[in-house]
C-alpha cells in the first residue's frame, strides 16, 4: 500500500509538472463560466458543476495514463509491478478530480445567490445544500474516474477509440438511469425546484463500491496486459 501511495504521488507530480492537469481544468472552468452565472441559485449550479465533473475526471485518468513515457513506466513497472503502477495513476486522477470538486463547491458557495430556485416550496439551509452538492460532486468524480479507467488502456489498447469510449462512458454515466451519477445529479436538480434537499449517501456508497471493484479489476488486467 505504501508503494501505491508513492506511485500516486509520482503520477500527481507528473500531472502537475507536465502541465497535463491544465487542459481538463480549463475545459471545466470554461463550462462552468458558460453554465452558471453569479447570483444563480446554489443547488442548480451544484447540479450542473457535478455533471461537468464526470467527463473532466475521465479526462484526468487519460491525462495521468498518457503523461508517462513508456521507458520510464517500464522502470516503475519493474520496481513495483504493473497493477500498482496503474492503480497509482488512477488514484492520482481521482485526487485531481476530488480537488477540483472541492474547489467547485467552494467557488459556487461564494458566487451563488439563493439556495433554491425562486418559487420553491421549501427554503433549505446553505449547509444542507453544500453537503448534498459536495457528495454529488464526489459521486460524479468517482463515476468519471471509472469511465476513464474503462475507456483507456489496458481495457482499450487502441488510443483513438479510447477518446470516444471515454466520452461515451462519461455520457452514459450521466444519462443512463441506474447510474449513481445520474441519480445524484437528478436529485440535486429536483431539489433546486422543490427545495427538498437530500444528500445522495446511497449513490455515494454505490459509486465507491463500483470504482473499488472495477478499478481493482482494471489494475489486475494491467498486470496481465502490461503493454
Amino acid at each position: 500500500m505504501r508503494l501505491v501511495g508513492a506511485l500516486t504521488r509520482y503520477h500527481l507530480e507528473l500531472l502537475v509538472r507536465s502541465h497535463a492537469w491544465l487542459p481538463p481544468f480549463l475545459a471545466f472552468a470554461l463550462l462552468m463560466v458558460i453554465g452558471v452565472q453569479p447570483g444563480d441559485p446554489l443547488l442548480g449550479g451544484l447540479g450542473f458543476g457535478a455533471g461537468v465533473l464526470v467527463p473532466v475526471s475521465a479526462w484526468y485518468v487519460r491525462a495521468a495514463l498518457n503523461a508517462e513515457p513508456p521507458a520510464s513506466r517500464a522502470c516503475l513497472v519493474a520496481a513495483a509491478g504493473a497493477p500498482r503502477v496503474h492503480l497509482g495513476a488512477l488514484l492520482a486522477a481521482l485526487t485531481a478530480g476530488l480537488l477540483l470538486a472541492a474547489g467547485e463547491v467552494a467557488a459556487l458557495w461564494g458566487l451563488s445567490g439563493a439556495v433554491a430556485n425562486t418559487g420553491a416550496g421549501h427554503a433549505p439551509g446553505v449547509g444542507e445544500a453544500l453537503t448534498a452538492g459536495l457528495a454529488t460532486s464526489v459521486v460524479c468524480v468517482l463515476a468519471g474516474v471509472l469511465a476513464g479507467a474503462l475507456g483507456n488502456r489496458p481495457v482499450l489498447l487502441r488510443s483513438p477509440y479510447g477518446i470516444l469510449a471515454t466520452l461515451g462512458l462519461s455520457a452514459g454515466a450521466l444519462v443512463l438511469p441506474g447510474s449513481p451519477a445520474n441519480a445524484a445529479v437528478r436529485d440535486l436538480v429536483t431539489a433546486a425546484r422543490t427545495g427538498l434537499v437530500a444528500a445522495p449517501w446511497a449513490e455515494l456508497l454505490l459509486a465507491l463500491a463500483l470504482l473499488g471493484l472495477l478499478g481493482a479489476a482494471v489494475a489486475a488486467l494491467a498486470g496481465r496486459r502490461p503493454e
Binding site: L3, A74, C75, A78, A79
Partner: protein
C-alpha cells in the same frame, strides 16, 4: 531469478522471438546475454523485469527488480534529484534514504551539480546516468541492464562496470546486454546467446589469455576492508604488510583492473604498478 520454458511472440501468428528459454540467475551472479540486433535480448530482459508477459512459460522473481532501459526519455518533466527521490520512494525507500542515495550516485557519476536541472535540458549521456542511478539507488536483488552503457562517457562506463560488479558481490543477481564483447570480461559468471530460432544457449567463455607478461599492482586499502571478490582478470592476491595487497594479473587485464580499483569501492591507494620480476 528464474525463467522456465519461456516463449514470446507478438500476436497469434507472430514469429517466436524467444522460445523454450531456461535461465536461472542466482544471487551473486553476473550474467551476460549476447545476440545479434533484434534477436530478442531486450525482450528477454523485459520479460525478466515483468514489463512484458511471456506467451508461454513462467518467470519467477525473488523480489524487487530494477531495470535500466536502453533509451531513457528526456521528455519526463522532472529534474534529476526529484525524479530519483520519487522513484526511490516507489522502490520502497524512505524519503531520507532515497535522497541520500540519489545524492551519492549523482556524485559518483559526476553530475551532482546538475541535480536540479530538468531532464529535458540534460544531454543524452547525462540523462542516461540518471536512468542508471534510478536503478542503482534501489540496491535491488535483481539488476537488469539493457545496453545501459550506451551513451555514457568512459569514466561513467567504468563506474557502471564497478556498480554492476559490486551489486553481484553483495548478493544481487545481475543480467546485462551490451554490444561491447569485452564488457565486464573476466567478471561475468556466464554468457548466453539468443539464437535466430529464439533459443538461448550458453556460450563457452574464451579462456583467459594465459602466458604473456604478468603485471603486479600493489595497492593499500586504508580502511582495511577486503577488495571485491570478482576483479577484472581474476588476479592472484598476496597480502603484504599492514593493509597492502599485491595483485598479479596478465597484462591483457591490467588496465581494466587498475581502472576498476580506482573507481570502485573500497577506496584504494595504488602503491606500485610493474611487470613481474624475472620475466621479460
Amino acid at each position: 531469478m528464474e525463467l522456465t520454458a519461456v516463449g514470446k511472440r507478438y500476436g497469434r501468428g507472430g514469429r517466436w522471438i524467444l522460445r523454450g528459454v531456461h535461465l536461472a540467475v542466482g544471487p551473486g551472479e553476473l550474467v551476460r546475454i549476447a545476440g545479434a540486433n533484434g534477436s530478442g535480448k531486450s525482450t528477454l530482459l523485459r520479460l525478466a523485469a515483468g514489463i512484458e508477459r511471456p506467451s508461454t512459460g513462467r518467470v519467477a522473481r525473488p523480489g524487487p527488480v530494477a531495470y535500466v532501459p536502453e533509451r531513457f526519455p528526456p521528455a519526463l518533466p522532472f529534474d534529476a534529484a526529484s525524479y530519483l527521490l520519487r522513484v526511490g520512494r516507489v522502490h520502497g525507500l524512505s524519503a531520507e534514504a532515497a535522497r541520500r542515495r540519489a545524492g551519492w550516485w549523482l556524485e559518483r557519476f559526476g553530475i551532482a551539480d546538475r541535480a536540479g536541472t530538468p531532464l529535458s535540458r540534460l544531454s543524452k549521456g547525462t540523462c542516461q546516468k540518471v536512468a542508471v542511478a534510478q536503478a542503482l539507488i534501489a540496491e535491488p536483488r535483481v539488476l537488469l541492464l539493457d545496453e545501459a552503457w550506451t551513451g555514457l562517457d568512459p569514466q561513467a562506463r567504468a563506474v557502471l562496470d564497478e556498480a554492476a560488479a559490486e551489486r553481484a558481490a553483495r548478493g544481487g543477481a545481475v543480467l546485462f546486454v551490451d554490444h561491447d564483447p569485452t564488457r565486464l570480461a573476466g567478471r561475468t559468471g556466464a554468457v548466453y546467446r539468443v539464437g535466430a530460432d529464439g533459443g538461448l544457449r550458453a556460450v563457452e567463455q574464451e579462456a583467459r589469455p594465459e602466458g604473456g607478461p604478468v603485471m603486479e599492482i600493489e595497492v593499500d586499502v586504508p580502511d582495511g576492508s577486503p577488495l571485491p571478490e570478482r576483479l577484472p582478470g581474476a588476479p592472484e592476491r598476496a597480502a603484504l604488510g599492514g593493509t597492502a595487497v599485491r595483485l598479479a594479473v596478465s597484462r591483457a587485464h591490467s588496465d581494466a583492473l587498475l581502472r576498476s580499483l580506482l573507481v570502485g569501492r573500497p577506496a584504494v591507494r595504488v602503491l606500485a604498478v610493474r611487470r613481474r620480476e624475472g620475466e621479460r
